[in-house]
Amino acid sequence: MAVPGVCLQDFPLWSGGPTPGHFYNFPGNSKMNTGKSHTMYPSTSGTSVVGLVYDGGVMLAADSLGSYGSLARFRDVKRLFKVTDKAALACSGDIADYQFIREVIEQKVRDDVCGGYTRELNAGALHCWLTRVLYNRRSRFDPLWLECVVAGYKDDEPFLGYVDKIGTAFEAKEVATGFGLHFAVPMIREAREKKQNLSCDEARKLLTECLKVLYYRDCRAHFKYQLADITPEGVTIHDDLNLKKETNWEVANYISGYE
């Protein structure tokens, strides 16, 4: 269809419209063509989060480290927080994005209280809402670089859910992010095979064991951690826990050289 001596640019299809052979940026989608894009990679990030459902509640644990690449930069970062009496949230991934979403959720809870809503935000609703937010951001190529675990109660049933930066979401009885998926989840499943319903103490010991193994095997893990226990009575967060003294390094005495 090319006419010699005349080029296509002389005949635009319609002003401001698409040019054949070129990318077209749809109007209203400012994220694509302005130079401003953030979170295509995480900067300060948190590592695994582990959660499990036990007989009488749900438990969540996360360590307190913000890693700046390989530097253990911020060693007292709180990655776990209480949303309402029925829900707690912990995130791994970019800490700035976690702080952002935490403030949005806290404002949401405040709005509910001020608006006189009698129905408190529960874990199932939070999980659903978070999935939609994260999926929407991903669809606009501006993700919140997070892997979240939502724990709590939904209509008197214990609830534990996972949401991803690309909008993957599911519920399960044991959930973890990052390295936790590879180490902690099999450990929890093995314990459940032996005993279906774990008690509160057993659950806590199991979670601590999981975090210990993660501290051994994950380069980005730290020995200070937080643990949240959600029961029908409410949410208790244990801060400033330290597992360094419980770690076992005896095997180091038996190794000499590399052969």
């Binding site: 295509m40 990679y41 995480p42 900067s43 890693s67 700046y68 690449g69 390989s70 530097l71 253990a72 911020f74 060693r75 007292d76 390295f179 051994y216 095997r217 994950d218 380069c219 980005r220 200070k224 360094k244 003294k245 419980e246 770690t247 390094w249 005896e250 095997v251 180091a252 005495n253 190794i255 000499s256 050289g257 590399y258």
Partner: protein, 232 residues
Amino acid sequence: MASAAVAGHSNMKSSHLASLTPQWMNSEVLTGTSIMAVEFDGGVVVGADSRTSMGTYVSNRVTDKLTRVTDRIYCCRSGSAADTQAIADIVSSHMEILEVKLGEPPLVQVAANTFKEICYNYRDMLMAGIIVAGWDKSKGGQVYTIPLGGMMVRQPIAIGGSGSTYVWGHIDAAYQPNMNQEETVDFVRKTLTLALTRDGSSGGVVRVAVITKDGVDRRVFLHNELPEFYQG
């Protein structure tokens, strides 16, 4: 294969490009590490952490990075685990033959120079940062550092590995010449603890070896017994 930066580790800015290939293909086994050696009157103290990482996975949390070259010469290895093990084996074998020829233990300087020959001549193919330290009867305790390009220099105190970046300031401020043996061991233990708590590629226990004319005294400071510093 991704060209890694000095003595390991992840450049977070390259992570979005690295997602084009699976991470296990880019992560050779590295001793991203904290190592150091200090001379004192009568010998040397060498120390290292014990973490070997493959990407962000700790493949060995109790590694021994203090490798025997001869009875009185040890080397601390950082960089690629395979490269440094191969080089250490070669130099150790050369020193064994040399000992038979000379009828006496080889000098630390000779071992260090042998390391340097290999690290320099094959510099484009290797990723090895090595600290050679030991005792011999001609110059007493000596520490030689051989960083990535294959240069060699003798220093009273040498640090290396990815964790060393966090303790340059500390050694500048806290190192005193003419410490005795126990003070030197304590200094090495404190410095390595500071390095390994900040560096994600270092961790585990602190292994220390004291080399004097009487032999080698190996010690391990288990992780839960390390000194505590500011935890912010």
